[in-house]
């Protein structure tokens, strides 16, 4: 997997378009256990990223990821802004010293670590980390598999489903206590949408 400007452009465009298309679903999920703004917030953030797509993809890869992160921080509006923003900014930092594809798990792990630090959250608290940690594990342990992309896609889907029985202990949903059980976590779902968009794009280019 190389990451030429054109590939980066198609990845970012697909991820943004899929999140924007999922906004009604994310909003519905967030209305069940949050404050109902996740869809609109993610849509606003990724529309801003799409608006900068041409300039983003002329930057060096590390700067491109940092620009995406800063754009999300400045435009999303909810807690998802700093969380996703920190992910992309940390990935940008990691790309200064690490290389794709060999260091993919390390680079992704830097992003996941930044989300965990920003949210002061761990696995099992019914958040986006409950998708990001399992996907990181797949990237680490199954890197050599020819069907890695398919494995990442499946891991993300399974991880979203596993948030349903979880009780939220972080984020707005934690106010609901036991009533947060029985619902998909909106942040886990938006992470899955982004990851699936990346998987789809990479598979289409193979």
């Amino acid at each position: 997997m190389s990451l030429e400007p054109e590939t980066l452009k198609s990845l970012v465009r697909a991820a943004a378009e899929q999140v924007i298309a999922s906004a009604p679903e994310l909003t519905a999920l967030d209305q069940a256990i949050g404050d109902g703004d996740h869809g609109a917030n993610m849509k606003r953030g990724f529309e801003a990223v799409l608006g900068k797509l041409d300039s983003i993809t002329t930057q060096p890869l590390d700067e491109a990821f940092k620009t995406i992160g800063k754009t999300l921080v400045m435009t999303v509006g909810g807690a998802a802004g700093p969380l996703y923003g920190s992910f992309f900014m940390a990935v940008g930092d990691a790309l200064r010293s690490k290389r794709l594809p060999d260091d993919l798990a390390d680079i992704f792990g830097s992003g996941v670590g930044a989300v965990s630090a920003r949210g002061r959250s761990q696995a099992g608290e019914k958040t986006m980390l409950d998708v990001l940690f399992p996907v990181l594990e797949t990237l680490k342990t199954e890197a050599a598999r020819l069907d890695l992309i398919e494995r990442v896609r499946a891991t993300a889907s399974e991880a979203v489903a596993r948030t349903v029985p979880m009780q939220a202990t972080k984020g707005r949903a934690s106010f609901l206590g036991a009533r947060s059980v029985g619902h998909i976590d909106p942040g886990a779902r938006s992470s899955c949408v982004l990851l699936h968009a990346v998987c789809d794009t990479l598979q289409a280019q193979q």
Binding site: D37, R44, V73, M74, G77, G78, G81, P82
Partner: protein
Amino acid sequence: MNDMVGIVIVSHSKDIAKGTADMVRQMVGSEVKLAFCGGDPDGGLGTNVSLIIDAINNAWSPKGVAVLVDLGGAETNSEMAVEMLQPERRNLVIVCNAPIVEGAVMAATEAAGGSSLDQVRAVAEELSAS
């Protein structure tokens, strides 16, 4: 010598942020350095990192700035805003773990007396311990 810690109020609602600032002004006076913001980038309920950065810079004092927030996203976005300040300012801003209205009034009262940033924070955060 006469510097006071600045106070920043960050709510999801611009009305709450403004109302809290009005209470601080009335109860503590106009000499405290005070800035507030609320609302997401489209003007709906939420918080906005760039407005928070502006508010911190507007309330800036060499003694530092105490930030009072309401719900989770305001805290996360405020912490993000602090990290995006000029490097020499980052260590002089504290996001307090305190209720927004009472915290802002108590912090501003303490700040008006010329206390340090740590003292201002301690007074605001006592409110959460009880």
